[in-house]
Symmetry: C2
Amino acid sequence: MVSVTFHANGADVVIHAAEGDNLLEIARRANVAIDAPCSGNGACGKCRVRLVSGELDSPRTRHISDSEYAEGWRLACVSKVVSDVCVEVPDIASAYRSHMRVADISSEKELAIFNRTKEEIQASGIEFRNGLSALTVELSEPTPDDTMPDNERLARKLCELLGVEKAVLSYSALKDLARVLRENGFRARCVVDVAGETAAVLDVLPPQDAAPVAGLVVDLGTTSVAAALVDMESGAILAKASTGNGQIRYGADVINRIIEASREGGAERLQKAVIDESLRPLIAQMCAAAKIESRRVYRMCLAGNTTMNHLLLGLFADPVRMEPYIPSFFLADDFRANELRLGLHPEAKLILAPNIGSYVGGDITAGTLASMIWNREELALFIDLGTNGELVFGNNEFLMSCACSAGPAFEGGDISCGMRATDGAIDACTIDAETMEPSYTVIGGESPVGICGSGIIDIIAELFRTGIINGKGKFSREGRRVRYDENGMGSYVIAFREETGHVRDVEINEVDIDAFIRAKGAIFSATMTMLNSMGMDPSVLGHVYVAGGIGSGINMKNAVTIGMLPDIPEEMFSYIGNSSLSGAYAMLISDPAREKVDELARSMTYLELSTEPGYMDEFVAACFLPHTNASLFPSVQQG
Amino acid sequence: MVSVTFHANGADVVIHAAEGDNLLEIARRANVAIDAPCSGNGACGKCRVRLVSGELDSPRTRHISDSEYAEGWRLACVSKVVSDVCVEVPDIASAYRSHMRVADISSEKELAIFNRTKEEIQASGIEFRNGLSALTVELSEPTPDDTMPDNERLARKLCELLGVEKAVLSYSALKDLARVLRENGFRARCVVDVAGETAAVLDVLPPQDAAPVAGLVVDLGTTSVAAALVDMESGAILAKASTGNGQIRYGADVINRIIEASREGGAERLQKAVIDESLRPLIAQMCAAAKIESRRVYRMCLAGNTTMNHLLLGLFADPVRMEPYIPSFFLADDFRANELRLGLHPEAKLILAPNIGSYVGGDITAGTLASMIWNREELALFIDLGTNGELVFGNNEFLMSCACSAGPAFEGGDISCGMRATDGAIDACTIDAETMEPSYTVIGGESPVGICGSGIIDIIAELFRTGIINGKGKFSREGRRVRYDENGMGSYVIAFREETGHVRDVEINEVDIDAFIRAKGAIFSATMTMLNSMGMDPSVLGHVYVAGGIGSGINMKNAVTIGMLPDIPEEMFSYIGNSSLSGAYAMLISDPAREKVDELARSMTYLELSTEPGYMDEFVAACFLPHTNASLFPSVQQG
C-alpha cells in the first residue's frame, strides 16, 4: 500500500491505495474532483495534476509539453502510483462552477430573449396559470357552541372562498394551524394548490407573511446547470443562478456518465454529485438572494436530457445507451421534489419535461415549446447545441427530432486549447487576411488561456476564409503564427505565451480542427438526413432557431462558413437563448404549457440516425469545409 | 454554576446548572429519563433519585421514609441543587419499557379475545379488504420495433391485470424498475395499492421476492404503546410488541403532557420522545422478528387519544385542554408515515383513527368498532379504562360518549405503593375475612414490590368485604396488618418488607384508598350521568364491555363491589382486551372498517361532563363504597 495525498482547494486529502492503482480512480474514490471529461482514456488531456513529491508511472502524452512534464505536470488518467505521492490538483471544477457563463438569463441580452419567448408563448394562446396561490382567510373563532376542529373550520372557509369541493391539509399546514390561528385572531395566510375540485393546503402562515409563493425551474445540462426562482403568482423571476454539473468529473458526455453510473455505487455517486454540488448550492444561493426559505418553494420543473433525468433520479441508466435504447421513462408521474433531498416544501412536486427517446429528452421537448416552431406554418429547424446536438424540424403540422453525438467540441472538449465559456476564453475572433494577425475578445477581459466553442467556430471560419487552412482543415500558408511540428502537423497560434504571460501558447492545430470538423459535420449531416427523409432540402427552411450553451456568442455567418449550419440568408437565423430553461419556465408556471409540451412530446417523431440509411454518407460528405458538395454553400468563398 | 452528574443506566451524564435549579428540570434538559407522572409537583412520589455525593436542598415528603432519606433518597421534583452533585437515577423508564405488560395480543388470552373481535367484525358484514397487494408480472422484452419505456410497459400490463385505468409509479418503484426488469428477464413482483381506477405502484421487486406486504397497527396510549405488524393480504399478525410511551417522563396524564408541550421546544421534545423512544424501537423490534425491512411496511394505522394524536404530530395542543377545547383535527387527511421519520416505505400512509372531541379520541372510536355495541339492538356500555376513562353508551341506533378524568390511579399512579402492571406488581388479591391475611398473585411470579390497578381493585374490595375498611374507606378493624400513624391514618400491609426482602412494605393507606375511590367514582358517575341524560338507569344495560390497559386482570365482581361498575349480573360483563388495537387493526386491513369507524365517529354524540348539570352531585355520591345510595348496589354486602 502507498499513501496518496491530493492537495486540492487548499486542503489535503490523504488516501491509501495499492501500488499500480490508477491515479484518477484513486481521486474518485477519495471524492477529489479532477476534471476528466473523456472519463479517463487519455484523450482530452484535461485531468492534469502536478506531482509535488514521490513517483508516478506516467507516460508522456501530446497534452503535456516537455517543459510542463519537467514541472511535474501529468495526466491523472494515465498515471499509476508507484510510491507514496503528493499531487496538486488544479481547482478546475470549482473555477468553472463559480465563473462559468452559461446560457441562462443573467445577461441583459439573454433576459430580453427570455422575455420575448415568454410573450410569444402567451401570444399563442397558452395561458400562464397554475393552481398555486396564497390567500388570507379570517375564520370565526370557536365558542362552546361552535366546537368544530381547526382543520375543518379552515377547510370549509377555503372551499367557500376558492369555490372547490374539498380542501385537504398537508401535514405542514396542520402542524402550524392551531398556533397560527390563535396568535393571529383566527386570521391566516394560506398557500394552496388547487387542482380540479380539490385545494391542497400546503402552508398556514401568519397573516402578515408576505413571502412569494415560489417555484423553481432548472435546466439540467450535461455540462452546466441554469436555474431560476419564480413567483408562481406573477411569473416574476425572483433570482437566477447557474453552475456546473457536479457530475462533470465522471465524464464530459452522457455515455461516459452512464458507464460510470453502472459501476458499483455509481448511480448514487452521480446522483449525489448533481444534487449536492449543483442543485442544492443553486437553491441555497437563489433563496438567499430572494430572501426566502427553501421550504417556501412549492413546485419545481426540470428540463434535462434523458440521461441527465435518469442520473438525477439515481436510475439504472445502462439501457439508455444500449440497444434497443430503452429509458426507464418518457413521461414520469409527478414525484415530490424532496425525494431528492432538495429542502423544498415537503409537498413540492417535481415536474420533469418529458423525454421522447434515449437521446431526445426533456431539454428538447421544453425547448421545442420555446422555439415556437410548432405554432407556425413555415417549416423551421430548431437546433440545441449542448454537449450533444439535438434537432427538431417541422411546423404546426408535424415535428421530427433527432440527436447526433457532436461530442464536447462545442464546449471546448477534444480541443487542445479548448475550454468552456469561462473567464479567459477567447469567444470571438477575426483574422486579417494579409497579416494573418488575429484580433479577439476574451471573456472576463483578461489575457486568454484557451478558446471556447464560439471562438473555435470563428477561428476555423477565419482560417478558412483567409486561406490559412484548406477545405480539409490542413494548413496551407506560412507565417509567424503558423508552425509545423516534426510530423508536419500544422498549427496556428492565436496568442503566444509571451503575449499572455501564461505557460502555454493558445493555439489550434490540425487535430483540433479535424475534431471540430467532425462535430460540425455531425450537426449538418443530421440536418440533411432529416430533410432528406422527408424528400426535402435546406431551401424549404423558413427559419433556423439555434439554442443552447454554446449559443450566446455564436456568429451565424461563420457557422455557415464552416458548413455547420445550412447556407440560408443570415436573417433567417435566430439565437433563442436557453430554450430548455424558457420552456421549463413556461411548464412551471403554466399548466396549459405543461400540457402543450406533453402533447408536443407525444406527437414528435424520432429519427434514429445510427440506423438511418444515408446518414454515414452525409456525415462523411460534411467532414469538409464547408462541405464536399460546394453547391450546398453557394455563399461561402475561400480566400 | 454547579455540575450535576446523573448516574443512569450504567452511564454518567454530566450537565452544568445554576445553583438553585430544580433537579427534575435539569434532568429533562440533560435528557435523563426520570419517571415523573405528576409532572413534578411532588404529588406522586415517583421521581425518586438517590444522592450519592454533594448536597441537595430537598424537603422531606410523605413519599420518602426516614430511613430512605438517610440512605440518600430524594424526590427530584422538589430538590434544588446547591453544590456539585452526583445522583443515581433508578432505571424505571427502561424497566417498564422492556417489562411492561400491557393489554396487547402477546398472551394467549388476549390473542383469543383479539381473534374473537376480528371474527365478530367480519360477521357483521364488514369485508376485510384493502387496496394493497403484490403481484408478479411478466412483460414482453423491448425490441428495436417496440421501444416503449419501462414505466409505460409496466403500467400497461398492470392496468390489464388489475382492471384499472391508470397505474402510477412511485419514485421507489421507478428507481428499481430498469435493473429489476433486466436482471430477471422482464419479470418482477410489484407491490400495488389500488384505489378506484388507479393503481399506485409502490415497489418493483425481483420475482423471487416473497416478503409479505406489511402494515403496521399502533395503539398509542398515554402510558403504553402496543403494536402489531400485519400481513396486508392475509391479515395475519407477523409480529407484535409493546412498550412504554417515551413521553412518560414529561407527565403521566394528558394535561401535564400538554403543559410541557406548550413550553419552549416542548412540542418537538414530546414528539421526539414518542417517536424515538417508542415507535421506532417497536418498529425495529417487530421488523427484526418478522425478518422484513421497515420499508416493506406500506400502511400504518394508529389509534390514540386526542392529545396523543396531537403530540405525536408535534401540534400545538394547548387548545385541546383550554376552553372551548378545540383540537386541530377530528379527522385528519392521510399523511405519509415518513413525515414522522418512521423509516417505513416512503409512500406509506398514516391513517389516524378519528377523534370526536378533545377528550374522546381515536382510541375510543376504533375501540367502539371493536366493542360491536353499534351492531346490536341491546343497549350496552363500552368503558375504556386507560389513564383516562372514556365511556360509550348506545346501540345500533345511537351512540353517546363521554370522558372522565379518572386520573392515573388505575395504573398505579397517585397510590403510594402503586405501580404499572409490570413484573413485581400484585395484580390479584383475596383477604381472609377472619385472619385478615392476604393471598395474592404477583406478575412475573417473584416477590411483590407494589400493586397495579387490578390488584388495588381487589384489595379495596376485599378490605371492604371483610369490614377492614368502611364505606368511606376508613379503617375500622385492628390486626397485625392494620396500622395507624401518628395522625391516625390507617393502612393495611399486604407484604411486609421482611416477607419480600425489599426496602419497603407493600401497603395501602387511607390516602391511597381515597384517591382510588375518587377514580372509581369518576367512572361510575360518568356512567350514571350518561344514563340520566337519556332518562335511563343501569337496569337498561344489556351488557358492559370493559377494555383497556387495566383490564386483563380485572375482577368484575370486585369492581362492582367497590361501586366502580354498575350492579348488573356478572355474566353481563365482558373484558374485550385492547379494543383500541383491535379496532385499529380492522381499520388497517379493511377499507370498509375504516369507513365504518369514520361513520361511527360522525354519528357519535359527545357529552361534556364538566358542564353537565348533575354530574358533580353524581360524583360526590359515588365517592363512597360502593355508593351513598346503597340501593344502586343491591348485590353488594359489607362483611
